[in-house]
């Protein structure tokens, strides 16, 4: 695109080089004065907050207009210089002389009088305004550009925002770099580029775009288009994010939900009841399993067990020896789904309690063989509370095996840090109902279940609401960032 300027190069002479050097090195502002056959133009070049160079034409006058009031050219130009050109020696001044003659000589004298250090470049045929625009786009980066990422603070794990270096000062348009970050939210992440004028200076946002990327680790390629414009050419569907930075920051969680480690969900379903009752219970078991399958696709990380249990039989000569049916133990979500289908409703043989305590006993035994540090969760879905270990005033007969549901539950809570939630056919009436204790993590009614919430409370998935919308870098990955 600069191709058409090339033939003019001899005419521009040393101007292009001189100007490029000054644009790269000026601090506050740079004044460029163009003197040609017709008149004089004064340009001012500044860098904006994000280091992009911008030039403005401050004055433009024909020789004839300058002298129309009888003023000498030298005085008129001196007045313009005084008004528009900084007196500060730190702000460089460059004079491009395109043509020569009396007026031009007078103007030069006037400019030199105001700023004796002003440099003169002979540039016959050059067009300074156009050249400035070209050179600004080609200028090296005056500041550092960082991608804003979130990192866990070493001492307490709270999230803090830091910059991952994309381009350092001096980087040139066309430069490319890569940065590795993790997307933690299924909704994608916000790519915010900030400029740093110095190590302690506050940052300005260069750009903010929403990148619809899936959760996981991504290596992003960034290209410096020109100062003030960074592109991520390999991410399709980037959309500008128009929120203010304050708005973005308020949506950020204080800390990241720890990526859930290995988990084990035990779904215990009471089979006793009508087909409709039974199917409603299985429906929710299946739904929760589906949520987990979606949110935690790694089969190594999540195991599911499915057990059905019915009611005890009383009134027979021998004590009831029926046992809960383990449809599947420590299986994948897919296997658990299939196992769920294998359960069948059973006819209640006792109305007010079910062999829930036998289920707990068996689960407790099986959990002993489970590796430590597995997040273990029990979801019990049914209508009837467990039998007590000894019959009490409520006239519910004791468990034939004398299992103590509360002792078993406590033991699992202590040994495995078990979380226990329940979905009941009916809301537990009495405040003393075992359902409240069994549902210490959550109690839902079968007609009002929030499966996502349930999975979250059981500790099997991380919180859905407060997702981190910024790229995340772990402590180990983080190098070269600054804050």
């Amino acid at each position: 695109m600069h191709h058409f300027a090339k033939p003019a190069e001899p005419a521009e002479g040393g101007l292009r080089g001189e100007l490029a050097e000054l644009i790269a090195s000026f601090r506050e502002r740079l004044a460029v004065v163009e003197i040609d056959a017709a008149g004089i133009r004064v340009f001012e070049v500044r860098a904006d907050e994000v280091g992009a160079t911008r030039h403005t034409r401050r004055a433009s006058a024909k020789w004839s207009t300058l002298t129309v009031s009888g003023e000498e050219v030298v005085d008129a130009v001196h007045r313009i210089a005084r008004d528009l050109i900084s007196a500060d020696e730190a702000d460089p001044v460059l004079i491009a002389r395109i043509a020569d003659g009396d007026e031009q000589q007078a103007a030069l004298r006037a400019l030199r009088r105001w700023r004796p250090s002003a440099r003169l470049v002979e540039a016959p045929g050059a067009k300074v305004g156009e050249l400035l625009g070209e050179l600004a786009a080609e200028a090296p980066l005056r500041q550092t550009y960082d991608l804003i990422v979130a990192r866990e603070r070493a001492q307490d794990g709270r999230l803090e925002l830091v910059g991952r270096r994309l381009f350092g000062a001096g980087a040139r348009p066309g430069d490319a770099t890569t940065v590795a970050v993790t997307c933690t939210d299924a909704g994608g992440m916000l790519l915010a580029v900030s400029a740093w004028s110095g190590p302690l200076q506050p940052s300005e946002l260069v750009s903010a775009h929403h990148a619809p990327l899936p959760p996981g680790r991504h290596v992003l390629r960034a290209v410096l288009e020109r100062p003030g414009l960074v592109r991520f050419p390999e991410i399709p569907g980037l959309q500008p994010d128009t929120r203010t930075w304050e708005e973005v920051v308020t949506t950020l969680p204080a800390r990241l939900q720890p990526a859930p480690g290995p988990g084990h969900l035990v779904c215990a379903i009471e089979t006793a009841g009508t087909r409709e009752e039974f199917e409603a219970r299985c429906h929710w078991a299946g739904y929760v399993i589906d949520v987990l399958a979606e949110r935690r696709p790694d089969p190594q990380q999540l195991q599911v067990s499915v057990v059905g249990y019915g009611t005890h039989v009383y009134g027979t000569r021998r004590a009831d020896r029926s046992r809960p049916a383990f449809a599947v133990w420590s299986a994948s979500t897919g296997q658990a789904r299939a196992a769920l289908e294998s359960l069948r409703p059973t006819t209640p043989t006792y109305p007010h309690a079910a062999q829930l305590e036998d289920m707990l006993a068996e689960v407790s035994t099986r959990l002993l063989r489970q590796p430590a540090n597995t997040r273990t969760a029990l979801l019990t879905i049914g209508a009837r509370p467990p039998h007590p270990p000894r019959s009490g005033l409520d006239r519910v007969p004791a468990c034939p095996q004398r299992y103590d549901w509360l002792a078993l539950l406590r033991e699992m809570e202590q040994r495995h840090d078990l979380r226990s939630a329940v979905i009941c056919d009916h809301p537990p009436a009495a405040p003393t109902s075992p359902w409240h204790r069994l549902g210490s993590t959550a109690v839902f009614r079968v007609d009002a279940v929030n499966a996502e919430e349930l999975a979250f409370r059981l500790g099997l998935v991380s919180e859905p609401a407060k997702a981190l919308s910024l790229p995340f870098v772990s402590q180990s990955e983080d190098s070269g960032g600054r804050n």
């Binding site: 009611t311 009383y314 009134g315 000569r317 021998r318 004590a319 006819t347 209640p348 043989t349 006792y350 109305p351 007010h352 270990p389 000894r390 019959s391 009490g392 005033l393 006239r395 519910v396 007969p397 004791a398 004398r402």
Partner: protein, 332 residues
């Protein structure tokens, strides 16, 4: 047992009932009758049998027994007045004269006539008199032995025993005590006060926790029993647990209307406690014998072992027919 000269065992009373029964509705009267026939048939050594006096009563008796033993549930609540005309027949006894012991008189079986009017127990509290009520009062007036059923669980929940008893006693007293026949102002009956449903946890737990129970060393099943001399205190305690304050005074009410030495207290259960057959003895953690079933009714879980069901009847019999009962002092 002191024999009194006012024992109403005179033959002239003929076909009049010996024993009448009352208690609030649901207090366990029908179940008691059903259990009585089982209990009498079970105790081989006692040699007593319960028979129906007429075909209708015989059928009823068989029905009651079957409900408990076969259907393993309780007879349906009595909805209308039902007459049971039964007779308890004891083992034939060879009677000897104490002054001429080497010749025996012809064997004679003792017979106690039971007329049970099983009806809704709340009749007493109704102000207007009706046929059922009059029939019952008449039966109470004519009889000389009373089985009074007290249901501690109902008392703890409803607490209407006092009201019923008070009303009934005043009716009976009004009919019997106006004349000069009973000069001491007390009713002439023997009364067996039966605490029912001992097997229920709300009764048995109180008995055990309050220290009223003992074990018979000879009992393999180690069933906790309330010894006879403590039953009256246990009854008083249960009355105090009642929903209604008046119930506390039931014992006083009974003792005001009857001769103290004609009152006896019994702790009864028509079905008995559950005993796990594999364990073979009473288990304080698992004695529930009546449980709700899936059909919305009740099921008797284990073997039926009526407790103190025939004892009050035989006691009444022995009081009413002093000569006919075995356990006379000289018979051992």
């Amino acid at each position: 047992m002191a024999e009194t000269d006012s024992a109403p065992g005179d033959p002239e009373r003929g076909r009049e009932p010996d024993i009448a029964m009352w208690g609030a509705s649901g207090s366990g009267k029908t179940a008691f009758l059903a259990a009585l026939s089982i209990a009498l048939n079970k105790s081989r050594d006692a040699g007593w049998r319960l028979i129906g006096e007429n075909p209708v009563s015989r059928t009823e008796l068989a029905k009651l027994r079957n409900t408990l033993l076969q259907a393993r549930t309780f007879p349906a609540p009595t909805e209308a007045l039902t007459y049971y005309s039964w007779m308890i027949i004891g083992p034939p006894e060879t009677r000897r004269r104490w002054w001429w012991p080497w010749t025996a008189l012809p064997a004679k079986a003792p017979k106690i006539k039971l007329d049970f009017l099983d009806l809704r127990g709340d009749l007493y509290a109704e102000s207007e008199s009706n046929i059922d009520k009059q029939a019952l009062i008449t039966s109470l007036v004519k009889s000389r032995g009373l089985l009074y059923m007290f249901d501690p669980d109902r008392e703890a929940r409803v607490g209407d025993a006092f009201k019923h008893l008070d009303a009934a006693l005043h009716e009976v007293a009004g009919r019997m005590l106006v004349g000069d026949e009973y000069e001491d102002g007390k009713l002439p009956h023997y009364i067996a006060v039966c605490i029912t449903k001992y097997d229920d946890p709300r009764v048995l737990r109180i008995a055990m926790e309050e220290g009223f129970t003992e074990r018979d060393p000879g009992d393999e099943l180690r069933i906790p029993q309330v010894p006879p001399d403590r039953v009256r205190d246990f009854f008083r305690l249960l009355c105090q647990e009642s929903y209604d304050h008046n119930t506390e005074t039931i014992l006083d009410l009974i003792e005001a209307f009857f001769h103290k030495d004609r009152i006896r207290y019994f702790v009864t259960s028509s079905v008995g406690l559950f005993i796990d057959e594999e364990l073979g003895r009473f288990d304080p953690d698992d004695f529930l014998n009546v449980i709700d079933n899936a059909g919305g009714g009740l099921t008797i879980r284990g073997a039926i072992r009526p407790m103190n069901v025939m004892e009050p009847v035989i006691w009444l019999g022995s009081m009413l027919r002093p000569g006919a009962i075995r356990n006379r002092p000289w018979n051992g």
